[in-house]
Symmetry: C2
Subunit: 605 residues, 2 copies
């Protein structure tokens, strides 16, 4: 079925929660107001619905294929990429200096959701290209920027991130790929990288690999990683393409989902078609930034990629939700449970189907609101003239990144599972399409850092490091929202306030536990890291839906879009009564349940 | 990887929770003591591990194939079926009168778990054959029993259940298949049935279809359904096979999982190879029991099938758990979080991996314990000389069936998902195998009645109908266990008692809500049916692990299997602190959150 971009809900979040008009007052973002947002989103919706969506099921049926080192992408992908590039979509958030449009993340994030909602496999290529651009912007020399950025921003070339090796997944300390310095200042790379998304394909004329490797004598562990740029085809001084570089795709993976997205094993410095090690001339590459600072650059660009993967979770959930709603409207089965009729009705009228659809709505709208607000914090952190405000927003954004990545993708597993369930037996049949969303979503809690890695990040760098200050700042903001809810006084607002208060207090208990124990009992704290992440996700998405509820009540009074506003209020209330209510249990798990997580010795499993 | 049947844990549940020695004192079950259980389980483990397990991944890679109305099963399945039949496994729980072994369900259930743990796709064939046998035992005439039972029990023939039609899934009132009475007392069937597991295959010489259809003039709805037996090949008076019957497989489905199990579309009375309607001679069949009582018979056999699908959930979770543990032991990645070493360690040492593995253990052991105790209730209800005790056990068993089916399969979705997560990126690669368990499990919450159907059954027939008496009886038993825990006084027992008490009280609140509202506000009650089912599942599995904890403490004192007993205690404690703690939130959802489930009009989704 076709995908309809949820432009109205996106604009609601952009206008009322992220407050785009405040973003548009920041230096350099004067054109980025609500009008721009609306125009860009409508155009992106048109493109995503018209071009990308139709290729989604096709790509699943006809995955990317490898032969003799070449990868052919799924039918229609080459043409779609040309149109994507021609439309300027790759450059949306990148600087005008390199041909981009310099739009804020608050607008760009919605576009990322749309392209992923239309076609997750396709949208991974721009996602990784964004990351490569980011790395070069952060740390590339002027020469490297001149050489690569314009062509990446225009979509003429695409980019990749090369971190993982067979023995080094979450643990980058184990990376072995070698970088040998050459007399001309370049390096030659030797090693094997795996799980490289769009590491080889036929959609663009060149592929620009960003690669973590070690120079001779580098320190052990992550402090000895350097970042290199290594193109598939070498680039001549005049910008034209030169010789084929010694980086070759020796296979692609046979995966559970995102089958149209080629996941490559890349050999650096092993010659063409050779699966062994170190027998080729070496892959010519250039250092990005300084030696041994690779992890630092990688982290900055990984934050952008992690945020984008979180958007993928929202996107696939939205698409699965739309499909489930459509099926639930069409499928006629069983009489009403209250005996109000003798004929079978569309299943959307049955309470348990409504429970599943409402769970999806609350999850999706809560996550979308959280991600949009996080994007606004990023934009403010980038552009605000006041350093203190920049710093505050930076901290808030960084606190939210592991939630956007970890929580929104964990949620997408649950929601795509529910969407399949709504279809009953038909959901299990591949031709229906619900199963593809379920399969595609399954990678999201794994790549760009598993949920465990996000949870560790939340515990360590985002909570313990500042003694819980950012977490408590956010809790204080939530408390103000609770006061507004109580002041509003409607039954929905009061119910939300009650649940939100309890959930916030549960969160604060956990923050105290994390801060107090991160040094003295780290195993106990990390035993609760996942539950802390889920709890924080519930609370922060509930908070954003609480804000939405207040806005919707206000707009309802002025008669705007009554059906939309009433649905927003219902969805917020559902979140309070069915998602926020999980907070106390999670609090108990973290604060009182650590010992039973780590009580069993490895040999006793 | 190979599957190891969890015989030790099964015997623990059979001996100490189901108390097999009491079962063996019932009339007719004298041979069914612990010694028999041990011998049967060991033999079944040998067969499942040796024959069935190795075919599991092969079957996924080489699914059943349809050509010209014939279905070829996956490599090795024919031979495995011959061995299964020769071993007498199909007859395990069936009467000696028809060649079975007449063993109690308390033993048979463990065998069902093992064959499904080894190979879910394969084990579906015996599961459906059991159901067909059950239907004939319940309602078949002596002629039908003579004709079919011995050959089904021996595994010479296999059986199917034909309920679903394109327009009639959960809603059997919509079944349209016609049964036309013939002069000789037989009937001819005309119609289309879909989703028929092992509806066509090449493993046995005949297939015996049990089919729901309508006789002329039958009442509308479910009260007009009759049950028929319709063989693939007609059976002559002497028991030999006669002409091919007019029931044909026009296609099999392309599914997300259980790919080796052929899911057939069957045409009755449409001639060979014809996809139209009513153009063949009609499928010769015989009425089972009386006209218009088909649903009643179907329900009895469906209870057996639902229980068995619950065992499938436990089985696939166990297999996925074993694979995750193996990977977690082998995969070396990252240093200990507590800084206790500088080298990377096996990930089984990381707290969040332990959290995932413990979640799996607690879910699996809790569900296995619940299902084993339910089986003992079934056996007691069948065999106890005292009618009141029979009746009490019947009610307990029937209360637990929707939990075994609904809760254990919902849990299997979560646990196979976690098992994949433990593998990180490798989990997403099909060759690893974790993805197959994730895909296979996904049907379990759908077939033989979706989770919504189970939840409605729990609310309506199992709770509201007896005014909550059975639910409160069970709660009273749980309360005694709490008293024993408090009397024991160990920290683990006290922690468990505290969580169990709170969870039981939450459950009782929900039972009160269900009983009070089922007539006056059915939509509100059914809005909470899923959460009630999950809450009851948490409480009843937690209860069984609480009993396990008490037993394990006792056995530990006498020095028996200390590592196993300590692990049992840890697992129970984990359940208390990480699963039972969800009870209060679910209670609030049901009792205080109904309006927000059903608040949105169908057109506003």
């Amino acid at each position: 079925m076709s995908y309809i971009a949820p432009v109205k809900d996106m604009l609601f979040a952009i206008e009322h929660l992220a407050r785009i008009e405040q973003i548009a007052r920041l230096p350099g973002l004067a054109d980025a107001g609500l009008g721009t947002a609306r125009a860009v989103l409508q155009e992106c919706a048109r493109f995503s619905q018209g071009v990308l969506s139709a290729l989604n099921a096709e790509g699943d049926k006809h995955p990317a294929r490898w032969q003799d080192g070449q990868v052919s992408t799924s039918p229609g992908f080459k043409s779609a990429w040309r149109q994507y590039a021609a439309g300027g979509w790759q450059g949306l958030q990148h600087p005008a200096e390199f041909g981009g449009q310099g739009l804020p993340k608050t607008i760009g994030a919605a576009c990322i959701e749309m392209s992923n909602g239309a076609n997750l496999s396709f949208a991974l290529c721009p996602l990784l290209t964004d990351a490569a651009i980011e790395a070069l912007l952060i740390a590339g020399s002027d020469d490297l920027k001149t050489c690569y950025l314009e062509k990446l921003v225009s979509g003429q070339w695409t980019g990749t991130m090369n971190l993982t090796e067979p023995q080094a997944g979450s643990d980058l300390a184990l990376v072995r790929t070698r970088a040998e310095p050459q007399a001309d200042g370049s390096y030659k790379l030797f090693g094997t990288k795996i799980f490289i998304t769009y590491g080889e394909h036929d959609m663009a004329e060149n592929i620009v690999h960003l690669v973590l490797a070690r120079v001779p004598g580098a320190p052990e562990g992550v402090k000895g990683l350097s970042l290199f740029v290594c193109p598939k085809f070498l680039v001549r001084q005049d910008g034209s393409l030169g010789a084929r570089n010694d980086v070759h795709c020796v296979s692609i993976e046979h995966k559970l989902g995102i089958k149209a997205s080629p996941t490559a094993v890349l050999q650096f410095g092993a010659g063409p078609g050779v699966a062994g090690d170190s027998t080729g001339p070496g892959a010519v590459s250039h250092l990005v930034g300084q030696e041994n600072r690779g992890l630092e650059y990688m982290f900055i660009m990984m934050n952008a990629a992690r945020y984008a993967v979180g958007m993928q979770g929202i996107a696939i959930s939205e698409r699965a939700y739309q499909k489930a709603v459509q099926y639930a409207r069409e499928r006629v089965q069983s009489r009403p449970v209250d005996g109000s009729g003798n004929a079978s009705i569309a299943i959307i009228g049955h309470p348990d189907v409504q429970r599943m659809l409402m769970t999806m709505r609350a999850g999706i709208e809560g996550c979308r609101a959280l991600a949009t607000v996080a994007a606004a914090a990023f934009d403010t952190a980038q552009h605000h003239p006041d350093a203190q405000i920049r710093q505050h927003n930076r901290a808030c954004y960084e606190f939210m990144v592991p939630l956007v990545k970890g929580y929104c993708t964990e949620t997408s597993l649950e929601l795509t599972c529910l969407a399949l369930q709504v279809h009953g037996g038909m959901g299990f049949i591949e031709e229906t399409g619900a199963a593809q969303y379920y399969r595609d979503a399954r990678i999201l809690t794994i790549y760009e850092g598993t949920t465990a890695i996000q949870a560790n990040d939340l515990v360590g760098r985002k909570t313990a490091r500042d003694g819980g200050r950012t977490a408590r700042d956010i809790a204080a903001q939530i408390e103000s929202t609770e006061a507004e809810l109580l002041a509003s006084g409607t039954p929905a607002a009061r119910s939300m306030a009650r649940r939100l208060t309890a959930a916030r207090q549960a969160l604060l208990d956990v923050v105290d536990f994390v801060v107090a124990g991160s040094q003295t009992q780290p195993r106990a704290v990390f035993a609760g890291s996942y539950s802390y992440l889920m709890l924080a996700g519930h609370v922060l998405t509930g908070w954003q839906l609480a804000r939405s509820l207040l806005v919707a009540q206000e707009l309802l009074r002025s008669g705007q879009e009554p059906a939309f506003m009433r649905a927003k209020i219902s969805t917020a209330q559902f979140h309070a009564e069915h998602i926020l209510v999980k907070a106390a249990g999670l609090r108990d798990s973290v604060v009182e349940g650590a010992d039973s997580v780590t009580g069993l010795a490895p040999e006793d499993f």
